[in-house]
Symmetry: C2
Subunit: 150 residues, 2 copies
């Protein structure tokens, strides 16, 4: 069940709120074969994004994701917000904790485990490999004509 | 000065750690015209990502970003992790707090303010508009041959 609230939108944007991050386990979604997955919120469909599939996720204490996976076309970046444990890509295994950032090419075989006693909250970002052209401030333009409404 | 630690890599991935999120202000980078910007970490170059430019950012209490901006080719998604305030796109202004997610098309004129007394920590994700093809589990493949090293 989705507990995501629509906040505002126009043709240029969509804003939602998924609630407190320590209540992520209240979000569930139907996985393959009718399995219900807890603690996962995918953002593409609800925000109408066109360049990324971003998800919020929580991995319970002392728990591993039960499978390794690769991707066909998409690079993935994982941002670890809480908890600590181990991340493995292919035959390399390393520590992760708050502040860890892992960028993985489609072919990397990835898996992770939360070895701590707190929930591991993390964000996973899918984007098509090699799709970004300009970036950072190189892609930005000032909009000096806007009057702040605050 | 970058305080980002390289953790591990092979040809399929790069892992780094940016440190505690409550110490984001210790990260600085040189902006246009030699201005030093505090509390910003751009991840593309250090993780060798090719589909996104992801940044961690902190906006101090009772502070607004001093300019509105648009993008040329990139969609942006903002994920608010702490603090609360207001976000404006064009002529729409709305509340933001922990759990807020705002996806903005390149043309949206965007700005934000932290009206709370705590730092506003947020993640901004740039990707090329309309670049994503398959996504979510549709782009994933199981990798059943991997033996976890934990």
């Amino acid at each position: 069940m989705s507990k995501v609230k629509k906040v505002a939108e126009n043709t240029n944007f969509t804003a939602v709120n998924i609630g407190s991050l320590n209540k992520l386990t209240e979000h569930t979604l139907a996985g393959p074969s009718g399995v219900v997955m807890e603690g996962k919120v995918f953002l593409k469909d609800i925000t109408h994004s066109t360049g990324t599939e971003i998800s919020y996720n929580v991995l319970p204490p002392q728990t591993a994701i039960p499978y390794f996976h690769t991707h066909k076309k998409n690079e993935e970046t994982y941002l670890i917000l809480s908890g600590s444990g181990l991340f493995q890509v292919d035959d390399k295994c390393f520590d992760i904790t708050e502040g860890s950032v892992i960028r993985i090419a489609p072919n990397g075989k990835r898996g992770m485990t939360n070895t701590s006693n707190e929930p591991m909250i993390y964000i996973a970002i899918q984007s098509k490999e090699n799709s970004l052209e300009e970036y950072s401030m190189g892609d930005g333009k000032m909009a000096a004509d806007v009057k702040p409404m605050w």
